[in-house]
């Protein structure tokens, strides 16, 4: 059995992809430090530290991809993509349709995301629903090392723009740099199985757009992604003690959404609980309600999401992010409806 950290798995998959394919290049801020091993191995032509010019280098990644490279371009935190959003919304996402299907931009945007360490509402967002809304974008959000490595390979192989989001609570180096920063007196609710876990002997791409059923349950279906998947699994354990059997689906991909897997599960349980670290309104959770309705299922629905700007204060932050008590409470209400 081989185990890796979440970040280690991504690096290992990138090592493989970059060794196999000279077109794969990385650019982003501080990559000589953040991706030190890749930088040492592949040199500065392939791992390029950038100026703090997101609109320039994200925009450049689009045409670099159009002209034959396979860029993996880094936005340090997904919050910062806001300064460069044109490159994705108006350029990369439009290309395939605008060119009549004749031109694509095979690029990966790698970004950290998520909260749980007291960094405030401008550095802890997830924004995946917002970015997934634009046709032409794919968005993946792995919850464990095996999925992270496999999805990174697929993202690189994909012919279009893929946003690859790495939750900071899962990636040890982000917690080390941003949260602990050398301190040992603070605690973070890090899901162990997400931060380190078994990985395949050799990396195989995991298809984008395939959700994974992690736990069966007849009473309700929880659908989640990223760190919240682990909160759901923990909540499902607790619910089981009081005789409520909750299934858990890890979406893994926001878009394209695995509508079939979701509808199949919900058809059986008649109850859908979405647990999403993204904003509640105009969101992924709303989209999931819509697809179930469109499929003609009359399921009962509830959601545990982030409802407002994330507070800096860690005590209030913990309440704002989906947590086990909130999930258990919502599930209990849902099954009694």
């Amino acid at each position: 059995m081989k185990t890796m950290t979440f970040a280690g798995a991504i690096e290992d998959a990138l090592m493989k992809a970059m060794s196999d394919d000279p077109r794969v290049v990385i650019f982003g801020e501080d990559v000589q430090a953040l991706r030190m091993n890749l930088y040492a191995k592949f040199g500065e032509m392939r791992v390029r530290p950038t100026p703090i010019s997101e609109s320039a280098f994200l925009g450049a990644a689009v045409t670099a991809a159009m002209a034959g490279l396979r860029p993996v371009v880094e936005i340090m935190m997904i919050d910062f993509v806001a300064v460069a959003i044109d490159a994705l919304v108006n350029q990369a996402a439009k290309l395939e349709v605008f060119s009549g299907g004749r031109w694509k931009a095979p690029m990966v945007v790698r970004a950290s995301c998520g909260g749980g360490y007291g960094d405030g509402g401008q550095h802890e967002q997830t924004l995946w629903g917002w970015l997934a809304q634009v046709p032409g974008m794919k968005v993946v959000v792995p919850s464990n090392p095996a999925d992270a490595g496999g999805l990174m390979l697929s993202a690189i192989e994909d012919e279009g723009p893929v946003l690859f989001m790495e939750h900071k609570l899962l990636a040890d180096y982000w917690i080390d740099a941003l949260a602990n920063a050398g301190r040992i007196n603070l605690e973070y609710d890090i899901p162990e199985a997400g931060a380190r876990g078994e990985v395949p002997k050799t990396w195989e791409p995991i298809p984008i757009g395939e959700a994974k059923m992690l736990r069966d349950g007849d009473d309700l279906t929880m659908v989640s992604l990223g760190v919240s998947v682990h909160r759901c699994l923990q909540a499902a354990e607790e619910l089981a003690k009081s005789g409520v059997h909750a299934g858990v689906i890890d979406l893994r991909t926001v878009t394209p959404l695995d509508t079939d897997a979701i509808c199949r599960a919900v058809e059986k349980t008649d109850r859908l609980l979405v647990v999403d670290e993204d904003y509640k309104h105009f969101s992924l959770s709303g989209e999931l309600a819509a697809i179930v309705l469109e499929a003609g299922l009359g399921a009962k629905f509830a959601r545990v999401c982030v409802e407002d700007t994330i507070p800096f204060d860690r005590r209030r932050e913990a309440q704002a992010l989906p947590n086990v008590p909130r999930i258990v409470e919502a599930a209990t209400k849902l099954v009694s409806r």
């Binding site: 501080d30 030190m36 040492a40 500065e44 100026p51 703090i52 405030g120």
Partner: protein, 342 residues
């Protein structure tokens, strides 16, 4: 007009002592996440803020402690905010990277470059509502590569907005040497965008003060923006617990797990040998710069100003003691606030 040496010293000393208290609270785990200090920038902030009057606006970056302290914001309110308490400046909702004081028209943002547009908007409002008032934007040299800041300098120059763009240049953005990713020269760049531009030693508060005086006079007279470039050092690196500084301060502990994979990566294929050697060279260079950073105590702006004071040692001690008391009182209030937290 001459700068008031004691007044400036007092401001810088207060900011430094405040940040020492912040460092302690952060070390004790009472302050979360990325604590960026103004330490090393005090002379720049003091020299500029000395010209600020009510009605002037401040657009602040992620190093907002010194400007907030020197603008006279209550220290306990700031500490409580840093600790995420309900009684903080922004009710514990914004935190140290996102500080706001509407009474002082002071607003900060953690988005690099965002202070450019922010200052322009404050200046536009001043043109309509507060004649003779100006807006100041603080940012690092790394932000000079952010498009919105370049657009803002042009906007301010084209519209003759009363903006003072203060570029605090420590040469490094997180781990990246700004020289490696910045083409041309910043003064020429600012001039190309139509701003008046000067450069000063940002560890010398007199130099900053004089350059800032000209900038404020010009701006208040409606002569448009000034780009004030000031060099400095960040002895604590990017933020408290900076990974690079930890590596150079405690190489055995911090590098142990990193060296093996690095050597393996660099010696098992990949690009050409010479390219890999260049990479290893720049990694070593990055650590070398970090080591230099913390040695720069001789450039300490506060020590420099302390040497220049023309008051007796007893008077200086009294000044310092008064500030120490003010900071201690604020810390005590903040800790009481923490205990009272449900």
């Amino acid at each position: 007009m001459q700068p008031n040496a004691e007044g400036l010293y007092r401001q810088m000393y207060k900011s430094r002592r405040f940040e020492e208290a912040v460092t302690q609270l952060w070390n004790d785990g009472h302050i979360s996440a990325e604590m960026h200090l103004s330490k090393g920038e005090e002379a720049i902030v003091a020299g500029v803020l000395d010209h600020v009057m009510d009605g002037d606006a401040l657009a602040l970056d992620h190093r907002a402690s010194a400007p907030m302290v020197m603008r006279g914001i209550d220290l306990a309110l700031l500490l409580k905010e840093f600790m995420g308490l309900e009684g903080g400046l922004c009710r514990g909702m914004g935190g140290h990277i996102h500080l706001f004081s509407p009474e002082h028209l002071a607003a900060s943002s953690g988005i690099v470059g965002a202070t450019g547009p922010a200052a322009c908007g404050f200046a536009i409002a001043a043109q309509h509502l507060r004649p003779d008032k100006v807006a100041v934007a603080f940012f690092g040299e790394g932000a000079m590569n952010q498009g919105m800041l370049m657009e803002s300098i042009n906007l301010a120059a084209a519209w003759s907005l009363p903006v003072i763009f203060v570029c605090k240049d420590n040469g490094t953005a997180v781990t990246t040497s700004s020289a490696d990713v910045t083409a041309g020269d910043l003064l020429t760049r600012a001039r190309g965008l139509g701003a008046h531009a000067v450069s000063v030693d940002g560890t010398d508060v007199d130099e900053v003060w004089s350059a800032a005086r000209d900038a404020f006079v010009r701006a208040r007279e409606g002569k448009g923006p000034m780009f004030l470039h000031a060099t400095c050092v960040h002895p604590e690196g990017h933020f408290l617990g900076d990974p690079l500084l930890r590596m150079v301060r405690n190489p055995v502990r911090e590098l142990r797990s990193k060296v093996g994979p690095l050597i393996k990566a660099a010696t098992t294929g990949g690009s050409s040998l010479s390219e890999r050697a260049v990479s290893l060279g720049s990694i070593a260079g990055m650590l070398g710069r970090a080591r230099e950073t913390q040695k720069h105590t001789r450039d300490d702006p506060i020590e420099r100003q302390r040497q220049r004071l023309e008051i007796s040692d007893a008077q200086r001690d009294e000044l310092e003691r008064a500030v120490d008391d003010e900071v201690q009182t604020a810390v005590a209030a903040a800790l009481r606030g923490l205990e009272a937290q449900p």
